[in-house]
Amino acid sequence: MPEASLAHQDNLNLTRGGLLEDYPVPSSGYDEMFSAPGQLRSHWHDMARALEEIGGDELERRHSEVQRLLQTDGVTYNTYDDSRGSLRHWLVDPIPLLMTGEEWSTLAAGLEQRTRLLNALLADLYDQRLAIRQGWLPPELIYAHPGFLPPCHRSLPAGCRSLIFHGVDLARGPDGTFRVHGDRAQSPSGAGYTLENRVILARALPMLYRDAPLRRLASFLETERATLTGLARHNPDSPHVVLLTPGPNSPVYFEHAYLANYLSLSLVEGEDLVVRDGRVWLKTLGGLRPVDVILRRVLDGFCDPLELRGDSLLGIPGLLQAVRGGHVALANALGCGLIENLGLAPFMPLLCRQLLGEDLQLPSLQTWWCGDPTECSYVLANLNRLVIRSILSNGPCWDGAQLDAAARARLIERIRTNPYQFVGQEPSSLSTAPVLQEGRLAPRPVTLRGFVVADGDGYRAMPGGLARVSPGLDTLQASLRNGGISKDWWVLAPTPQRHVSLLRQSYGPIVVTRDGSDLPSRAADNLYWLGRYLERLDSTARLLREALGRLLEWEQDNTDERCLDDLLDALDIPVPPVAESPRARFFNLRQELLSLITDSEHPGSMQALFEGLLRTGRAVRNHLGDDSWRLLNRLQHSIQEPPKGLSARQTRESLEEELVLMAAFSGLNNETMPHHQGWLFFDIGRHLERVLHTLELFKLAFVTARNPGLPLWEVVLTLTDNLTAYRRRYRSALHPTAIIDLLLFDEGNPRSVGYQLRRLQRNVGRLHRPISSTYHSAEERLILESFTTLRLADIETLATLLRDSTSSSTELTRLLDAVHAPLLKLSDALTHSHFSHAEVPRQLITMRP
């Protein structure tokens, strides 16, 4: 450690006068930064100096910058129990947590040994079960844990490993020793967040990160990628690796999308996959594409409704059989959830000696498994100072010291009835690490999650990982689920490390594909609806903006308000009776219009539409660029978190802003998404929605209007963004023939019905068709029908009709309906041809004995 020789004097200079002054080193326990008040640990010297140089105020500014970057990147953590407004933003503290290289080597060796050991244990428990039969483990510890899945018995082909990627929760005790608090094997999340933290912090604090002597993370992920690829039994040169996610409702969906992009994997859900001929296939627009490796982030029980949980909608029927056949490799193997069992802790030293012939390097938190009568008595006798947990990794937890008499009695009863399900644990006194608090550093309890990945025949630990601090000092344990703040965990290297771009080099030969026919059908479905929601949100915002504008004008000078009634019709808001006093009428209408923005219960409200937009957007997270995602986040902020008590005028202004954001989002997608299958669906969704809306508006203005005439025509031109085009072209008063031409027939005007139809026709024609045929598809025929009707219509007759009488609008109605009706069927036809995977597998009924 070069810093170790730094003079004590230097050390004191650092702490005098700034950020570190009065850092309240806890009197008991282990602080990561200070060994005693005023005694900075030597490996923190450079960091402390750098932090002092930056200063508290600047750090706070940078911290806000970090949070802003995270928010615009859309880094969120969902919680299941909080269904509405469920996206909790990821919080990061800007002060890294430092660890010396020496300490890391020891810890890494311990982590790698632990993964080897647990892998060996899984191999044994799903085959010979020597650990149980030889008495190293009590059978109840394994058999009573729901993670033990008999169908997984001998399901792995010879030579396959169960554990490929392993997460380990760690904390440092008062004596400075790291202890394991838990294991994560089914869906070990956090590596993606670790990466994102590093990227964002390096961007916001370049002075700390540039040339910093810290071990970089990129090579660990390269190893993960190489390992996953190496698992494939087929196509060793370019295997198809997918990341299986439970979907956008998963609390860690962001990470799934992030990792899928980073590791170049297809992001898929259970319903995207199917087992046929004993293999796993991805349902794509181009047909079925074989899958060789699945990086799995769905819990064991939900993966195969045939053999595991029959009620699972997330799984793939027949998956376990495909695994047995050796045709698909899973990381991690099914059944690995049993190593998340907290009751294993006391048995780890013996297991390590028996299974590996080694001494256990990394101790666990002191744990007593209540399934053993002696241990159980100890736990019950010491209930008031122990922490009681279920053996399930995410199960309930009781702090014995906090229980009142009644709760204690209930808990004792529960333990006595079901002793196998509980452990007692030494209360974890966590080490503390500095976090930024109002321009100062303050100590907070910290836990770590380390990651280990298979590497060749062995395992390799990530140099660093996710550090999390509790918001307060007294929290039992910081957890991802309970929120908390994360930190970047640095492992120091002896010399400055070159900053490596986290963008990877290619790994080998690549099959160049362009047409996007390997797009999962579900992704295509979501992109189509993303387009529709975006356009519907856009047209609703335009209607609301116009209506609010009219309302405000009317309030000012009580002039013509007639167009307002027609706008209310278009928005499906009941027109209030004329008998109302103007003032009451104003407030009523304002209320109605504002609620159409904020009331998420109303299916047509901006809120509800945006939720649909966001849901479909999240489901295709990996198809949208970072900038698009930033725009969506800004839209979300504006629509879902508006300041309280906005006036009608301010609301109208924010609608303007939102329209600009939507236009930017849509433009950006046009500019950045390759114009292949995915984009085609997005574009078809948008233009189908737009043509339907335009036709409805046109009908409103020329057929069903309460107050037909020039003012309303002008409103319609404004709503469809045609007013400028009209003025430039005609520079004159509004003329029905000209309006009809511009709105319906002018195929050069991107806002006309004719243009939308031509675009739909072209794009639908370019869609990949599962079965090649010389005939037009149903979708193509529908568009052709609509388009032909429009093109055959005689504009002069129409204009005459309009001029002559408002009552003789039947001809126009007939035309509009004839154009409209086939388009209404188009959506179903598209669904049938391209997204018909939606059918969910079901259980067969069974006969009882």
């Binding site: 045939l306 067969l844 004995p849």
Partner: protein, 308 residues
């Protein structure tokens, strides 16, 4: 006794099924008292893939996948089985006191006894509850030999419960079976298992068949012409003693064993997951026919299906 067992299952769907994955536990397992000839399996439409394996409990499982579009699925298993009168226990076999058995299960390091401890624990269909203990207690006074106590419990379940195929489904909770005193063989087996487990004993569920034609002069037994189920209790040192509470007996030559597990869920005869299909209906026909002739002349008889 020698039997030809024919188990026919027929599914009808109201709309097309595009894909279906199935697991059949319809192949009888080999035991010291039961020998099986290779089964004749006919599945229509023909499976694109099928594979037999042994499950965790050693039962034979056939996986098959149908990939042709179909509205009708027919699954027929025909197996010739010889059942010997050599099961390890008879009603008069001696056995240790039940508390002694509990103690051995807890303490004996013999791997076979350790394996049996899986069957002392709750399983998806059988969770212990004080009411099962209360029900079992009168049969298990202190010091009573395990088999004697179990014979008594077996008889009580048989006498105090009504066989009622319309009362329960696989989803009916076991405490409802207990409180209503009604059910079918599956429920009675689960009930016996729950009672034994609540006493700290090891009990498992056995799936199988019962001979169709009653011997002359004896009443026809309930559970014929269908799958049957009973239970077994573990006696350390000797093995598993079987009891059929539905018929108040210990299974003998006329009980054909398919397989066993913690409860019904581990040995369901035929399960599947399909895509499509709309609503569907199911017919099952089981026939257990003794060989009265030498094997060669009996081929044709075995094919006849008798509707249940």
């Amino acid at each position: 006794m020698k039997y030809t067992i024919t188990h026919c299952t027929l599914y009808h769907y109201s709309s097309d099924v595009a894909l279906c994955h199935n697991l059949a536990r319809l192949l009888p397992r080999e035991t010291s008292w039961q020998h099986c000839q290779p089964s004749r399996i006919t599945i229509q439409p023909r499976p694109a893939l099928s594979a037999e394996r042994r499950d965790f409990f050693g039962n034979r499982v056939l996986y098959f996948a149908i990939q042709d579009i179909h509205q009708r699925l027919e699954v027929n298993f025909v197996t010739k089985v010889q059942v010997l009168d050599t099961r390890p226990f008879t009603p008069s076999s001696p056995s240790p006191a039940w508390e002694q058995v509990h103690k051995m299960l807890r303490e004996d390091p013999d791997p076979e006894i350790i394996d049996a401890r899986l069957f002392m624990l709750d399983s998806p269909f059988v969770a212990v509850h004080p009411s099962f203990l209360d029900y079992a207690k009168p049969s298990f006074p202190p010091g009573r030999p395990l088999l004697e106590a179990m014979t008594d419990l077996n008889r009580r379940i048989n006498r105090e419960f009504t066989y009622d195929p319309h009362f329960t489904t696989t989803a009916t909770p076991l405490d409802e079976v207990l409180s209503e005193r009604r059910g079918v063989c599956q429920d009675f087996a689960h009930l016996g298992i729950a009672c034994l487990r609540s006493l700290g004993l090891a009990a498992r569920y056995v799936s199988g068949y019962l001979e169709t034609i009653p011997p002359p002069g004896q009443p026809r037994l309930v559970g014929a012409d269908a799958s049957h189920a009973w239970l077994a209790v573990y006696v350390p040192g000797t093995g598993w003693a079987e009891f059929d509470p539905t018929n108040d007996c210990m299974p003998g030559e006329r009980h054909i064993t398919l397989g066993w597990g913690r409860d019904y869920g581990d040995v369901a005869p035929l399960i599947g997951v399909m895509t499509g299909g709309g609503s569907h209906s199911l017919e099952v026909a089981v026939d257990v026919e003794p060989w009265v002739e030498p094997v060669d002349h009996d081929e044709e008889k075995g094919k006849k299906d008798k509707a249940a």
